[in-house]
Symmetry: none
Subunit: 201 residues, 4 copies
DNA sequence: TATGAATGAGCCTTCATTCAT
DNA sequence: CATGAATGAAGGCTCATTCAT
């Protein structure tokens, strides 16, 4: 990419980033269309290629950007000494919601990365994804799982939480417009119930 | 579509259905490529359009077919008097697995329908999906949820099961080749844990 | 390339070959435009790519075709026992003119190959060019140069003939339409004079 | 063009002229890329269009410049009373080599003009080329051709010299870097032989 | 019925040209 | 004067769809 991209007015940078992120998130790498981004960002087609060598370069950049941004926010506003599992899950999701303020499609985009199946795209972006997963894993490191009842298999439990949250997120994004309040409500209700269920009562 | 499709040799019909279903399931409507189906089914490109006016028509047909087939099997081999929630979930999944014998991609295809975001495709297929959801809902009608602990919100619980099962299914299909044993194992472990968690201990 | 190209009606094959050859000959690889070929051959853009994977594949094919054709004609109608240098030069040029009947741009195209400076194109086609040069060199093998005066350096002489013939050919092709009679006339006059000059008088 | 171009520092003017000339000479009008000139001359893209309305304008200017410069040098350092044909040819070529000191691509650029086949470019530049050809023709005016043997047709002979020299020049420019010594050597050898051949021995 | 040749709209990318700074 | 950001038309290529055989 052309580093001068960062010299653009922040507002234009963000329009471009958001446009690309939205189209990538909704269509995946291969099907994402430059024309759609053009419309979305209100910026000419040629300009994308002035700053990003090609589609894969743009995809790489956007992925890098989203992940760096999330990880930064995670480091900044997620308290590393959270030991409760559900607080951790919730806290991370709050971070995503805060990122949404500037980059509305980051949460969905991150989620879409896990379904990307285009080889070229994966090759370019695999590293970044792993980095992100590691950072998230780190946030779970000091979590104390001793509160879980003995019949709870951690791995299965985590998978349940992961898949369900992904499902809720995607359902909310599928609506006309993402409703943060609704999302947080469903999330909280879900986590509350999972907490109850995972503990000896 | 052209009804004469059903005059074709059953084996050819199925090759075409499976080819289309696979490509649609793995790529979604918009990204699914005619050429890939041609290769997959070993049937000329012209024939597809001879029987199905266009891509949307084919998508509609395949959706209709998959859903009709599943619902038939459900009616045939799913005992309607199952009252246990988890037995119901498991039973339905067994039906899907049995359909897999003839139509290997039906389970993934059905799952993929929920993430379809192409407007045209959704417009054409929405009705069918709703019909399918209704049929499945019906299977849950006589389920007795009194065994659930009081802190379990049914809707949230069902959503958890639905999303997690979807996640597991997709992960298994993402493997080199779908491993039914592995899938059933994960499924059972998951359901076992959910049962435990949902009951007063 | 797709071998089925050869199943097309010969007339269509030739229209495509001639169209491509003309545009390549006049513009070089990089600047040759698919659209122009489309117009030239009266065949849709998609069809080119149905038979040839990409531009370089088409270029390779056309080069191969032109060279194979010329070499065939050379083998068929050029008498291998010509020992006179000028008869050899003239004979080869007659072969080119005979090829022109079916493929009007072969002579210019072959000439253009030597000025190609696109790396990718050269990499794809270098082998063929060398093969062609070898075949032509072979035709000169049994030429008897003893008639040349002692002050004639063969290498310089041959270079003179080569460059001048190339120049004449290109000048003739630059005209509205290639005039074979005019070309042969200039050629003969040139060779006659070179013969005279190269011999002790 | 914008006459203020000449108010630029001479060194910058020359960088631009040389950059344009090189790229035009190596690629022809149509294939010459603005970006390449930008890199070659180290001058911003906008500036080219500030002084030269468009590509054609730049091409016209460069052609005019090269031809004016050559003709000036010809007038200045080519002795008009040379009567020997070969001395004339050689003298003109020496002039080109002297121009190369300031404008390394002038010789190749002038040569490339003869193969330009872009209509628009030719229309814009035809006049200049004719002017140049006239000036060169003038240098041959007082040449004494009586030394030529009777069997030498002047026109054919001149064409031979012209095309061969063009060929040699282009071959030398195709090398990594133009080697003036090598060029002059080949040239002299060629002319020496042509002299011998054209005279009664 | 069945094929695959043929088409053209649309996609990613390049490039001459314009324009705000 | 000078820059390079910005544009959009055009180029190579893909893909759903049509059609002659």
């Amino acid at each position: 990419m052309n580093e001068k991209f960062f010299d653009l007015k922040k507002e234009k940078q963000d329009r471009m980033i958001n446009g690309a992120m939205k189209v990538f998130a909704l269509n995946g790498f291969a099907r994402a269309s430059t024309d759609e981004m053009v419309k979305e960002a209100g910026v000419s087609k040629g300009l994308w290629f002035h700053y990003f060598d090609n589609k894969i370069g743009l995809y790489t950049f956007v992925t890098d950007y989203a992940i760096k941004y999330i990880c930064m926010e995670l480091a900044a506003s997620f308290s590393a000494d959270t030991t409760d599992y559900f607080d951790t899950v919730y806290g991370i999701e709050m971070v995503k919601m805060s990122v949404r303020k500037s980059y509305p499609y980051v949460p969905l985009f991150l989620s879409s990365l896990d379904q990307e199946n285009n080889e070229e795209a994966l090759a370019a972006v695999g590293e970044y994804i792993r980095y992100y997963h590691d950072k998230v894993a780190a946030a779970y490191e000091q979590v104390d799982k001793s509160a879980f009842a003995s019949f709870v298999d951690e791995e299965i439990f985590e998978q349940t939480v992961r898949f369900t949250m992904k499902g809720i997120l995607e359902e909310e994004y599928a609506k006309e417009s993402f409703d943060e309040a609704s999302y947080m409500e469903r999330l909280k209700a879900f986590l509350r119930q999972m907490r109850k269920m995972s503990q000896n009562n």
